[in-house]
């Protein structure tokens, strides 16, 4: 395989591993081990007096009692865990659909119709992707205040009889915030795919008598199916762990999401439960995560 062999210098076998070592150590020390600590705490014990966690680092000592407790609460009706979990599923599903409905036409537009404004549009569409999420949410907190611009405009246009309290625990505001926050992440993969579709394929379809809509339905849409999947994954995975959107735009118990559950159990010293909830979340998301990694690595192999 080594094409430069024969003359010249060789790389010793330790050469590249040495370069990979620092980052590998970093990933082991600050990613793999911390996840082991989560398990040691979720499957560990509790101090009977102070109720502080007693991590067990030997897997043979692990007990699954309190973890099973958390899981069974997820399956029992009327528990806060289950309500929150179902609510999160509903919010995330609706917000993902919203992101797709907004993101697809926008990505389609940049890929096909922006023409000479393409770079300008692309920059404008990517900009929010790199802006601080907090800043973007904060902007909406100001706009949605009782005396904010949104209420003033809606009341002046006669669309609302009186100012509405948008920030007082409305599910619709939370879903709106999630869509606003994550839609740029959806646009990028969709754009990358739509831009790659060969124009001659589309022209061929048109030449063979397909109309605009039929071309879209039978050529563009099937070809972008993988990007739709990737885009949905990219927005769904972080949304599942999102707690700050809800806190900023609603902050009521009735709109709490799964992430809020994790954070609040840590903050109220229910550390074991918090660790268990993180494990439950990962167990739920591991399959889509692996699928997503496989689909992107396959795409890279095709591209390379």
């Amino acid at each position: 395989m080594r094409s430069g062999s024969g003359r010249g210098s060789f790389r010793p076998t330790w050469f590249w591993p040495t370069f990979a070592a620092p980052a590998t150590f970093w990933l082991l020390a600050f990613f793999v081990v911390p996840f082991f600590v989560i398990m040691a705490i979720a499957f560990g014990g509790l101090d009977p007096v102070f109720l502080t966690p007693e991590p067990r680092y030997n897997p043979l000592d692990w007990q699954f009692g309190s973890f099973a407790d958390v899981v069974s609460q997820l399956f029992s009706r009327e528990s806060i865990y289950q309500q929150t979990f179902i609510r999160t599923l509903a919010y995330v599903t609706l917000a993902t659909i919203g992101c797709l409905l907004i993101g697809y036409p926008v990505a389609y537009f940049i890929a096909r119709h922006a023409a000479r404004f393409k770079t300008a549009f692309l920059v404008a569409f990517i900009a929010p992707f790199w802006m601080s999420y907090m800043m973007r949410m904060f902007a909406w907190v100001n706009l949605l205040q009782e005396e904010g611009y949104v209420n003033r405009i809606l009341v002046n246009l006669g669309l609302l009889p009186s100012p509405r309290l948008w920030l007082q625990g409305r599910p619709s505001t939370v879903i709106f915030g999630l869509i606003y926050g994550y839609v740029p992440f959806m646009i990028l993969p969709l754009y990358a795919m739509l831009d790659r579709i060969d124009r001659s394929t589309l022209e061929a379809a048109r030449d063979l008598g397909a109309g605009q809509i039929q071309t879209f339905r039978r050529i563009t849409l099937p070809l972008s199916r993988q990007a739709i999947f990737a885009g949905c994954m990219i927005v769904t995975l972080p949304m599942f762990g999102d707690y700050y959107t809800q806190t900023l735009l609603a902050s009521t118990r009735g709109t709490a999401m799964f992430g809020n559950l994790i954070v609040s159990s840590l903050e109220s010293s229910l550390v074991n439960a918090g660790a268990a909830l993180v494990l439950v979340m990962i167990a739920l998301l591991i399959i889509p995560m692996v699928f997503y990694l496989r689909s992107t690595s396959r795409a890279r192999e095709l591209a390379g």
Partner: protein
């Protein structure tokens, strides 16, 4: 009246959907989308120049009240200034760690194909797509239960965030290596360069745009990072700008918070622009033939 409204609506719809004209329908959606995403942020930036105390009503223009002059301006208010300094410190330190080890890792994983490297790469990818809250909780428990020598605070924030950010330089470097190939370093080594020389004088200059881009992106994403920095912070002294925005957005509305957010937005925008320009110049050069510009030993980034 309703009939006339209906005709106007139909005419408008006809204008939008006219299949023979340019796709007006899509133009309208795209422009509306752009307005919707960018206008709120622009308004928030605008209110940092409000002459009065309101964040919802415009009371005249003042360049510096909330930046410098007022007692609760970014410059004079302790918590705001601390947060800004803390954010800059955290993102600079994160860049200094994550970019070198990430670039080295990306390079090594690309050149050294084996079972170990493949697993390390897999772990890196997982660190990238695991929901941030899970990473943050894991790091929080790690620093508060196991690595108590380090404990929570700035050190933990830097260590945790630099791990989370490794993926950016790795992915950027690997993408760049796709268009560089192995020929240059092999040529250098055939001509008698040692592996280290080939790396330093051939590969590194070729990778310069990717390294600059990594610095920009890692800086911008760390200065904006919220979830990990919040979980690993302890008390007011380790609050960064996003944490401060999060905790005061709904309770203490003063335009100085907008000013603070505007400053970090400005910093991260510059860094992202630098990154974008570096990558663009690199890809443009590739199209013109990388071989022509990549003369061995000449620093490509300078030219």
């Amino acid at each position: 009246m309703p009939a006339r409204g209906a005709t106007t609506a139909r005419r408008l719809l006809g204008w939008l959907m006219n299949p023979w004209a340019k796709a007006r329908f899509l133009w309208v959606i795209a422009l509306a989308y752009m307005l919707w995403t960018l206008l709120p942020v622009a308004i928030a930036v605008g209110f940092s120049f409000n002459a009065g105390k309101s964040q919802t009503a415009w009371q005249g223009f003042s360049v510096s009240r909330w930046y410098l002059d007022d007692v609760s301006s970014v410059w004079q208010d302790d918590s705001l200034r601390t947060a800004l300094i803390q954010s800059l410190k955290l993102s600079t330190l994160t860049v200094l760690i994550a970019v070198p080890i990430g670039v080295a890792f990306g390079l090594a994983i690309d050149r050294w194909r084996g079972r170990v490297s493949r697993s390390a790469n897999m772990v890196m990818l997982f660190s990238f797509i695991t929901p941030e809250i899970a990473v943050a909780v894991a790091l929080f428990l790690y620093f508060s239960q196991l690595a108590t020598v380090i404990g929570l605070g700035l050190k933990a924030q830097v260590l945790g965030l630099s791990m989370y950010e490794i993926a950016y330089p790795v992915i950027i470097v690997q993408a760049r290596l796709l268009s560089i190939g192995k020929e240059y370093e092999e040529a250098a080594m055939d001509l008698g360069a040692s592996p280290m020389q080939a790396l330093r004088r051939v590969l590194l200059p070729l990778l310069m745009p990717a390294i600059v881009a990594s610095v920009g992106i890692v800086f911008a994403t760390s200065i904006d990072n919220f979830v990990i920095s919040q979980r690993l912070s302890i008390g007011a002294s380790t609050q960064t700008v996003p944490i401060l925005i999060y905790s005061t957005a709904r309770t203490a509305p003063l335009p100085s918070l907008n000013a603070l957010a505007t400053i970090t937005l400005f910093a991260s925008t510059i860094m992202i622009a630098v990154a974008g320009l570096a990558l663009r110049s690199a890809s443009r050069r590739d199209r013109g033939g990388a071989a022509a510009t990549a003369k061995i030993g000449l620093p490509v980034a300078g030219g």
